[in-house]
């Protein structure tokens, strides 16, 4: 049983840098661009901030003491999370605010993995890497292949996760991949790691994203409609890969059970859904684990159109990591906040969106969820 945190903390500012390829710009510089944008959105200055939570970049930079000197201010509270996915960062900010360690916290992520040419296939030589088992597409494709074998999952259904994200991306000026893609286009693409195609795997891009979070009491003084944190949950498998079904990530089911129990909400209450997704397998696993689709039927459910523009459960309306940008899920949260405020471009605004779930994972080792909404 967790303490009742419902409606006590709110997101009052969101911002980001441009997304793309920015050679010569460090993760820390991109973080400051994002912070400037988020503070502008909240209409405050850095002097109003007393907490800073940075998320380490994929290359290892962007920690609090390397962002700090560019931030140019020493808030009383500063922390770094190894793998924020925005969820863990938000959860830490809620804890800091509710315990009085800080009142107004900036959360930030910055990375230049693209222009830095980060090698996602690099691994210390091991039996597995020498066997050619490299890149996140490998374990993700293993999980999908088993899902296909167990449940008869079809690629023409599974492809709808990538196709739907592209449809949303075409409505998002920030999205990097906007070229139209039909399910037939998808199926005609070559495999990367079969059964996964390139279109099922995140792009690599540079950028920064930031949020401003404060107590519900203070949130009333901000110009934007506050978006309240209504529930949060986490679960882990940090003991690692020691059982057969590890790649199916059963820990996500624990996070799902907790977030529904902690908040009293059910999947039917959610208006817009966000899933951090280095590969589309994450979408598949999480729509099932959170109960939006029956176990084994996530792909067939996606193919029914629920998650597309105009569907009854829009998923990753920003275009996700498959089509918008590679920000470890941070832009998913920004998009969720803007959807709930009702301020995105009209062509992708979900009417009357009041409640959003954001689900993310740290590879196969951790899972986290937040429910945010406009009513405290």
């Amino acid at each position: 049983m967790t303490a009742d945190i419902r409606g006590k903390v709110a997101i009052v500012g969101v911002g980001h840098s441009d997304q793309g390829t920015f050679p010569g710009t460090t993760a820390e510089q991109l973080s400051i661009q994002a912070i400037r944008s988020a503070l502008g959105d909240a209409q405050i200055t850095k002097d109003d901030v007393d907490g800073l939570i940075t998320c380490k970049s994929v290359q290892g930079g962007n920690i609090d003491i390397t962002v700090g000197p560019l931030f140019g201010l020493s808030p009383k509270y500063a922390q770094t999370l190894d793998y924020g996915t925005c969820n863990y960062s938000l959860h830490l900010a809620v804890q800091a605010i509710l315990t009085g360690l800080a009142e107004t916290v900036v959360l930030v992520y910055g990375a230049n993995a693209r222009s830095g040419k980060f090698n996602f296939s690099a691994a210390a030589p091991s039996l597995e890497s020498a066997s050619g088992f490299v890149h996140v597409a490998g374990p993700a494709a293993l999980a999908l292949q088993r899902h296909k074998a167990l449940y008869g999952t079809k690629e023409e259904d599974f492809g709808w996760f990538a196709v739907s994200e592209r449809e949303w991306a075409q409505r998002n000026p920030l999205a990097i991949f906007q070229k139209p893609m039909t399910i037939d286009d998808y199926l005609a693409k070559p495999y990367l790691v079969e059964p996964l195609r390139r279109e099922d795997v995140t792009m690599i891009s540079d950028g920064g994203v930031a949020l401003v979070v404060t107590s519900a009491e203070r949130a009333k003084d901000y110009p934007n409609k506050p978006v309240y944190v209504l529930g949060m949950a986490e679960n882990t498998e940090v003991a690692g890969d020691s059982f057969a079904d590890f790649l199916m990530r059963p820990n996500i089911k624990g996070t799902a059970a907790d977030i529904w129990k902690n908040t009293g909400f059910t999947p039917n209450d959610i208006d817009v859904l966000y899933i951090q997704n280095p590969t589309a397998v994450w979408n598949l696993q999480m729509v099932e684990a959170y109960g939006f689709a029956p176990e084994g039927e996530g792909a067939a459910w996606a193919a029914e159109g629920h998650i597309r523009p105009g569907g009854d459960l829009p998923l990753n309306t920003n275009g996700g990591q498959l089509s918008e940008s590679y920000m470890w899920g941070w832009l998913h949260m920004v998009e969720a906040v803007r959807q709930l405020r009702g301020t995105v471009e009209p062509e992708r605004q979900v009417p009357n969106a009041e409640l959003a779930l954001y689900a993310s994972t740290m590879t196969f080792l951790k899972s986290a969820a937040s429910i945010i909404g406009v009513n405290p």
Partner: protein, 135 residues
């Protein structure tokens, strides 16, 4: 079956040297806890079940079940470009340890939950890589 395989592991590293020495003899081994008997791979300094630091390398069954498999169509590791496409499988051996390694099984013949047995790729004078083929 052999291959030219750059980026091969260091077979002399103390933590894994016994594994590679046995592989050279085409014998599959894993660490076994002297205290509680738990069999583990990859090796670790302590038994994750009982925290005993006493362990031995023990021969394990070279047979298992194919949990899943994939086909690499792109050289995500450029040093494997001339081996594309290749098949990698996650094998749960009958004694418990899990290996994700190359399969000597054509993609059209691979099936989830099929029985498999170890084969050996003498990749270099120093390194032999375990693979799995249909049992």
């Amino acid at each position: 079956m052999s291959s030219t395989n750059p980026n091969l592991p260091d077979t002399q590293a103390p933590a894994t040297a016994p594994f590679w020495e046995a592989a050279k003899r085409h014998v599959l081994v894993a660490q076994r806890c002297d205290e509680c008997g738990y069999t583990r791979y990859p090796p670790s300094a302590l038994c994750p079940k009982c925290w005993s630091a006493d362990q031995s390398w023990a021969e394990i069954a070279p047979t298992g079940t194919l949990w899943s498999y994939v086909v690499y169509h792109r050289a995500l590791d450029p040093s494997k470009a001339d081996e594309i496409p290749y098949v990698v499988g996650r094998v749960v051996t009958d004694d418990g340890p899990i290996f994700t390694v190359r399969l000597d099984i054509a993609p059209e013949d691979a099936e989830v939950d099929m029985r498999v047995t170890a084969t050996w790729d003498d990749a270099s004078d120093e390194v032999t890589l375990v693979r799995f083929a249909a049992a």
